[in-house]
């Protein structure tokens, strides 16, 4: 096990079991490993992936296993090598590229959104661009304004990209298989705080899951209901889902039954699934660690109300970053994150407001 990798809460008890409790980071890597073993078109490219395994451990051990011809270290030239990945995909390869922090899309946004995402369309279907961009999102560890963003909407807004963000190990592995086998450009975002990388401290228990040894896929475009409830729907993305689960515990103690929905796939977005949940509860809180305005929260709320003007028993609530840059200092940072307390009080607002 790499120094970069935290031990999962529980480890396999028997060599026979086909599943073990894994972290997101390990689970997704297992899928990459499997696909690289079974499909020679698949290769990995990024900064510090070959020897180091990527800053967040997404490629740990893969360099040793597959060699530096298939796990390829690149200079700090993201426009260059993400463009290259797109070109390699156009020529029949299936690159998996690692951009450690999603904040870095600033320097390669054109290669992502104007080139790779649009080539299939602009070529009228002649050139497919099957590739996966893995990137780490999120704040909460005092890494400040340029290494803590989620940028969910900045990516999901642009046509031609699929954008997913699993929140537990089972989904991470299954969605990574799906991503690599997809003929399109998939952006695969994992919140650093939930990934299980050793730099990020104690594991988030609810991010661990029993993961089969075998390959399997988890389809995109379907929400996951983590916890059923009847009074209020809390729909979240990324780490906010785990905060929502804690919030649901707190709410339960107050006699409020919260349904916790993991959006997990931003494009395609499971509008039906979300609406179904809200139709049941009549109340909605969206918890998203991306910026408040012009983001996921607005989209989710609009998607619900545009289907049924009478669905809400109370105004929906948003718990996001309040349109400021992520501050460094812990009390500042914690105050703007979509943490349990804020989610709980937003949920309570929907109840009080009946």
């Amino acid at each position: 096990m790499s120094t970069k990798e935290a031990a999962p809460w529980e480890s396999p008890t028997s060599g026979e079991s086909s599943s073990r409790s894994l972290t997101i980071c390990r689970a997704q890597r297992e899928a990459v490993d499997w696909e690289m073993e079974h499909d020679e078109r698949v290769f990995m490219m990024g900064e510090d992936v070959a020897g180091f395994g990527g800053v967040f451990g997404t490629a740990d051990g893969l360099g040793d296993k597959f060699g530096s011809d298939r796990v390829i270290d690149m200079p700090i030239s993201e426009t260059g090598w993400i463009g290259m990945a797109a070109g390699a995909a156009m020529e029949g390869m299936r690159p998996i590229i690692e951009l450690a922090y999603v904040d870095f899309i600033g320097v390669c946004y054109n290669a992502i959104v104007n080139h790779a995402a649009k080539t299939y369309f602009m070529s009228g279907g002649q050139f497919k661009v099957p590739m996966v961009l893995i990137s780490g999102t999120g704040a909460g560890y005092s890494n400040a304004a340029q290494h803590s963003q989620c940028l969910h909407a900045t990516l999901a807004h642009m046509p031609g990209l699929k954008v997913v963000s699993p929140t537990n190990a089972y989904d991470a592995k299954g969605m990574m298989h799906t991503a690599i086998r997809d003929d399109n450009f998939v952006v695969f975002l994992v919140h650093k705080g939930a990934s299980g990388v050793g730099f990020m401290g104690p594991l988030v228990k609810t991010s661990l899951s029993d993961v089969p040894q075998e390959d399997y896929t988890v389809p995109f475009g379907k929400i996951k209901v983590y916890r059923e409830g009847t009074d209020v729907t809390i729909a979240g993305v990324g780490l906010a889902v785990h905060q929502a689960l804690q919030s649901a515990d707190s709410l339960a103690k107050m006699g409020i039954s919260a349904e916790v929905v993991d959006i997990r796939s931003l494009v395609p977005l499971d509008r039906e699934g979300i609406i179904e949940s809200v139709a049941k509860t009549g109340r909605l809180v969206v918890a998203d660690e991306d910026y408040h305005s012009y983001g996921v929260s607005g989209e989710v709320i609009a998607s619900v109300i545009e289907r049924d003007a009478t669905i809400f028993k109370a105004p929906p609530q948003r718990v996001c970053i309040p349109d400021v840059s992520i501050p460094f200092s812990r009390p500042l940072e914690y105050s703007i994150l979509p943490l349990e307390e804020r989610i709980t009080s937003a949920a309570l607002k929907t109840i009080e407001n009946v």
Binding site: S77, T79, A85, A86, H115, M122, S123
Partner: protein, 326 residues
């Protein structure tokens, strides 16, 4: 100069084809765009960047290529596409926004793709460099042959992507040729105002690449320089920055009268097509009659492609929605 006659002839034909096509497009372009000019009006809408003057680059480079070689280029792709053998009817249809177009009308003038001949173009400056390098990289991984070429202008070199990709090409000794078409202008900005060095090919050495500069907008020198670059690429010696002096005879786009190209800065504005024609006649490669025959035949071919495009159907509105994901 000892180029085979067939190649010289064929390069002339390519230049004529490209020029005629651009001329026909120009005619079509102005339909319904007077008296009130609008990019969006007429049968041939949008911005249009013709290649008048740059034909030798397309002709010379592409004549040296093999089928498996790959091309990416930018907003001024006509001469390269024609030289590469992109289907002229389908390309015309694409420009007229027809269903029979290369991309069914979705791509348009700046986004010409023809997978059959490994060709693609796109409209953001220098954007094709990374993809071309990646194509070369893919072939290396696949142990298949094929050199990737990316064409860009003297202005485009100043985009950061150039630096990033050249360095990676050098590091990985990729089979890659960066073709810089130095027509001295980027829209209205003269190269002397945009570029701190005289020759971009001089930058090659520090990228672990070979630099070559080709003077005179001469298809034959261009052909020979390309051959050398291909040879190096194929034998594992890595990439070349091939900087080619050429000329933009038209405005930057249709509707640009290019009034800024005056005085000294216009002296080199010589039309290469009649020059090459005269040279082939002088050299006894073509008779005047043969040259006219070529022009007549190619004229008819180009007319036919334009007619095909004009007659073709527009796509169904729904086609806008059916090509976002594979």
């Amino acid at each position: 100069m000892s180029l085979p006659t067939s190649i010289r002839r064929s390069m002339f034909e390519t230049m004529v084809r490209s020029r005629f096509w651009d001329d026909r497009l120009t005619t079509q372009y102005w339909i319904d765009k007077t008296p009130v000019f609008a990019f969006g009006a007429g049968p041939l809408p949008g911005e249009l960047h013709t290649s008048h003057g740059q034909e030798p680059v397309g002709a010379g480079v592409c004549a040296a290529l093999s089928d498996e070689d790959m091309i990416t280029t930018g907003h001024r792709p006509h001469h390269i596409a024609v030289a590469r053998g992109v289907d002229l009817r389908e390309m015309s249809a694409e420009l007229f926004g027809k269903k029979a177009g290369l991309s069914g009308g979705r791509g348009g003038h700046m986004h010409l793709y023809d997978k059959r001949v490994n060709f693609s173009s796109s409209g953001i400056i220098a954007e094709g460099l990374g993809p071309a390098a990646g194509m070369a990289f893919a072939r290396k991984m696949q142990k298949k042959s094929g050199v990737a070429l990316s064409f860009l202008g003297d202005g485009a070199v100043n985009q950061g992507a150039f630096h990033e990709v050249m360095n990676i090409v050098g590091l990985h000794k990729l089979p890659f040729i960066c073709v810089i078409e130095d027509n001295k202008w980027a829209v209205t900005t003269h190269k002397s105002m945009s570029t701190a060095c005289e020759r971009n090919s001089d930058r090659a050495e520090n990228y672990g690449m070979t630099g070559e500069f080709v003077e005179g907008n001469d298809p034959e020198l261009i052909y020979l320089a390309t051959q050398r670059a291909l040879e190096r690429a194929r034998s594992g010696e890595g990439g070349t920055i091939l900087e080619i002096e050429t000329v933009r005879l038209s405005g930057h786009f249709m509707g640009d009268p290019a009034g800024y190209i005056t005085g000294e800065k216009s002296d080199y504005q010589v039309d290469p097509v009649p020059v090459y024609r005269a040279r082939l006649i002088d050299d006894g490669i073509l008779t005047e009659q043969e040259a006219s025959d070529i022009e007549r035949v190619i004229g008819a071919e180009v007319d036919e492609a334009i007619t095909f495009a004009l007659d073709a159907d527009y796509p169904d509105a729904n086609d806008a929605l059916n090509c976002t994901f594979a």
